[in-house]
């Protein structure tokens, strides 16, 4: 994008120019294929179903689509394999999850979750009724967040499902507001019920 040497951009020109560039180039395909994952992290079809279902339980469909609808599960699978949010750091109590360990000692979260949910459902988690699946996941969630010291792999899984949802176009710009060029700063506004959080409030994303 060339800038006029005579003067700077104003907000309206900038937004329209950005839209034109996007039209001309097409929005680049951002997805990284799950098939590129190494074998120990390549998900089975069932694991992808589990992650999709769990994503939808974490962020259900309302007036806007849910986590499973927007592919938050697949994103979390990719993100966990690549260690986002510290998810390939070694646990203090590695022995507790030894059967799900990779060669480098980190935990295969998805394999753990699949097994854990089946155990809690007393069989095939995916075949359990919706209410039972939600109850099982709520119990798992409550246990994982009961203490700060908990090393439950669920914390990382849930976190990356949320990232997957709120950084998707639906989650970021329909469920929440995406404001790429606010153009101003209002320091004190009433927080009214119709005020949607800004998904790209980067200070909040970093420190909130």
């Amino acid at each position: 994008m060339q800038q006029s040497p005579q003067r700077g951009w104003n907000r309206r020109e900038f937004l329209s120019a950005t839209a034109l560039v996007a039209l001309a180039l097409g929005v680049p395909a951002a997805a990284v294929s799950l098939t590129s994952l190494e074998s120990e992290d390549a998900p089975t079809d069932r694991q992808r179903f589990v992650m999709k279902d769990v994503s939808q339980l974490v962020i259900p469909r309302s007036a806007t689509p849910g986590g499973g609808d927007v592919g938050a599960g697949d994103f979390a699978i990719l993100a966990l394999a690549h260690g986002l949010d510290g998810s390939r750091s070694l646990l203090k109590d590695a022995a507790a999850y030894a059967r799900f360990a990779r060669n480098d000692g980190s935990i295969r979260h998805v394999a753990w979750l699949e097994k854990e949910l089946d155990t809690r459902a007393g069989g095939d988690f995916l075949k359990a009724p919706a209410g039972q699946r939600l109850a099982a996941l709520k119990a798992l969630d409550a246990e994982a967040f009961a203490s700060r010291e908990s090393e439950s792999p669920w914390k990382a899984i849930k976190g990356l499902i949320l990232t997957g949802y709120y950084t998707s176009e639906v989650g970021g710009s329909q469920e929440l507001r995406y404001e790429p060029v606010p153009g101003r700063f209002d320091p004190d506004l009433p927080l009214t019920p119709d005020f949607r959080a800004i998904s790209n409030d980067w200070t909040a994303v970093d420190f909130g």
Binding site: M1, Q3, Q6, R7, G8, W9, N10, R11, F14, V21, P28, A30, V32, L57, V58, P60, S62, F75, H82, G83, L84, D85, G86, S87, R88, K138, F145, A146, K155, K158, L162, T163, G164, Y166, T167, S168, E169, G172, E175, L176, V181, P182, G183, F185, D186, P187, D188, L189, L191, F195, A197, I198, S199, N200, D201, W202, T203, A204, F207, G208
Partner: protein, 559 residues
């Protein structure tokens, strides 16, 4: 190639040196080790998270392999990774007891693209600090020497801020300051009324008034500065000094070129030019000039002096004092407090303000009231509301969670202390004796540790921060009093300090080498103390001042 002046580096000070020297009519060669980046062609600037392969967080597995230091920088992410060095390709070594994270940006514009933009004047508390408590060596200048150069720099780069009339943080030529948010306004009143301290909006090189004649717009409150800003709303080489230098027709820029050494002629006792290697094809080249300015960044300028050793100067160029490399510093910093302010949860804000607020230094000014330390500290931070990220730390799933994250959440106030780092001989840079980089150049070796003064300052800062937050009605939930690794403030400086005495300093009061009259070092390497303010504005002012002096000396035939 023959030039009047060579400027090594194109970052915050290199851009200024190029601007000032070309505008004085000199033919200038600016050499940059990294690639060219063209203003307005910032690759990720307008990307949404969903247009990025890893949604803006980046591929951690890749970072662990290639960016193991840079990934610790809070401005480093998938959008900005192209503005940081690959650590694997750019190694440095550290001593056995040293934990030093060296954040670097090797590209045209250097760290001017990724800097935090906080712009503060130093005061005579700072320039007089070494003389007063005996750490380090005295500065050869005082505030009056630099004040007009602060004026010049602030007006050109565009600094927004609020005048407060503080002796320890002098006011400058500000554009209107950005606004404090509702919680910060409240805390400002409490800390002023109860403690006589000043909480003010960050003085930041983000403009609130456009400079249309320079093609620069006012800040759009995006707060994605480190991706690059096509609005030119924050100061960078690209937005500001480079177009000014280019407009003179006197500037030649060479990118992708690492300077291997500065050449010295023992007969004339002058430097004659530089030798450099093209990083793309390995070819070597040289250029000569009457003046050489080192602006490679504090540590890299020292590195260049050390590796430019010769028979005449066997311990490094301009190092007859033997102090080259010593007394490096970085601000000791830590997260002093996080406090919750739920009483404001019915208020919110709009827009991503690209600066926080600060609480100006208040210790060890006219009364020595520091506990176990003789210098100052200040706080940077501010009040912010949580958003969807808070869901990662809390129990809850389902409709209740989605509903909760639909609106902004809890207000919290964050204060990060930055403490003055006293100069110590043991904190130093040397050439590694065995390790080299991919071009066979000896790696820079860093020995660094904070001492009891910084520990004491951060302990007092933590207590003060908690007290102020509590007084303002906040609930303190955590606080730290141990400094992070060296380098984390990204204010690494010193190593070629200014001083009056050629026996104990490298540079004189004009940022000019005592040993070599046509050699100037005007980046962070020249610093004799650290103060507790962000230093870049001072580097720029000293650069403009040194350029003016150098041109005068050149015209008078002194050099």
């Amino acid at each position: 190639m023959q030039f009047d002046a060579i400027v090594v580096g194109s970052g915050i000070t290199g851009g200024w040196a190029a601007k000032e020297l070309t505008q004085a009519g000199l033919k200038v060669l600016m050499i940059e080790r990294g690639r060219e980046i063209v203003h307005g062609e910032y690759e990720t600037e307008n990307k949404a998270p969903w247009e990025m392969p890893f949604r803006g967080l980046g591929d951690t597995a890749h970072y662990v392999r290639e960016y193991q230091v840079q990934m610790k920088n809070r401005h480093f992410n998938e959008f900005t990774q192209g503005h940081f060095v690959n650590d694997k390709e750019n190694p440095y070594s550290t001593g056995p007891d040293t934990d030093f994270t060296w954040f670097r940006s090797y590209q045209l514009g250097g760290r001017s693209l990724t800097w935090g933009r906080q712009s503060y004047r130093w005061s005579d508390y700072d320039f007089g600090a070494n003389k007063r408590d005996g750490h380090g060596t005295d500065w050869p200048i005082r505030y009056a020497d630099i004040a007009p150069w602060y004026d010049k720099v602030e007006e050109f780069i565009g600094v927004s801020g609020s005048p407060e009339g503080l002796a320890q943080l002098p006011d400058g030529k500000f554009q209107p300051g950005m606004k404090l948010n509702v919680v910060e306004e409240h805390v400002r009143k409490v800390v002023a009324d109860k403690y006589g301290r000043c909480l003010t909006i960050g003085r930041t090189a983000n403009m609130t008034v456009a400079k249309p004649e320079e093609g620069r717009s006012e800040c759009q409150n995006r707060s994605i500065c480190a991706r690059g800003c096509s609005f030119g709303a924050y100061f960078s080489t690209q937005s500001s000094t480079l177009p000014a230098a280019r407009a003179t027709g006197n500037l030649t820029v060479v990118t992708d070129a690492i300077v291997e050494g500065v050449d010295y002629d023992p007969k004339t006792k002058r430097v004659t030019g530089v030798r450099y290697v093209n990083t793309k094809d390995g070819t070597q080249a040289a250029a000569t000039a009457r003046l050489v300015f080192l602006n490679a960044g504090a540590f890299n300028s020292v590195h260049l002096l050390l590796k430019s050793r010769s028979e005449a100067m066997p311990t490094g160029l301009a190092n007859s004092s033997g102090v080259l490399g010593t007394q490096i510093m970085d601000h000791a910093n830590t997260l002093s407090t996080i406090a919750l302010f739920p009483q404001f949860n019915d208020r919110t804000t709009f827009g991503n303000r690209p600066t926080g607020a600060i609480i100006a230094r208040y210790r060890n000014m006219d009364a020595m009231d520091g506990s176990g330390h003789t210098r100052g500290y200040s706080f940077q931070g501010g009040a912010l509301q949580s958003n969807w990220g808070a869901g990662k730390r809390e129990a809850g799933i389902g409709a209740e969670l989605k509903d909760r994250l639909h609106q902004p959440g809890m207000w919290r106030f964050v204060l990060v202390a930055f403490a003055d780092c006293v100069p110590r001989d043991s904190n130093r840079l040397t050439l590694d004796r065995t390790k080299t980089d991919r071009f066979g150049i000896p790696q820079l070796h860093v020995d660094f540790a904070f001492g009891k003064e910084e520990q004491a300052a951060l302990a007092q800062a933590k207590a003060d921060a908690a007290e102020m937050m509590t007084a303002a009605g906040g609930t303190v939930i955590m606080g730290l009093d141990q400094p992070g690794a060296g380098g984390t403030a990204i204010h690494e400086m010193g190593g070629a300090r200014m001083g009056n005495d050629p026996k104990s300093s490298v540079l004189n009061k004009w940022s000019q080498a005592h040993d070599i009259p046509n050699l100037f070092v005007t980046d962070g390497a020249q610093m004799a103390s650290s103060a507790c303010q962000n230093p870049s504005l001072t580097y720029m002012a000293l650069t403009a001042r040194a350029c003016d002096a150098a041109v005068k000396m050149l015209r008078e035939g002194v050099i």
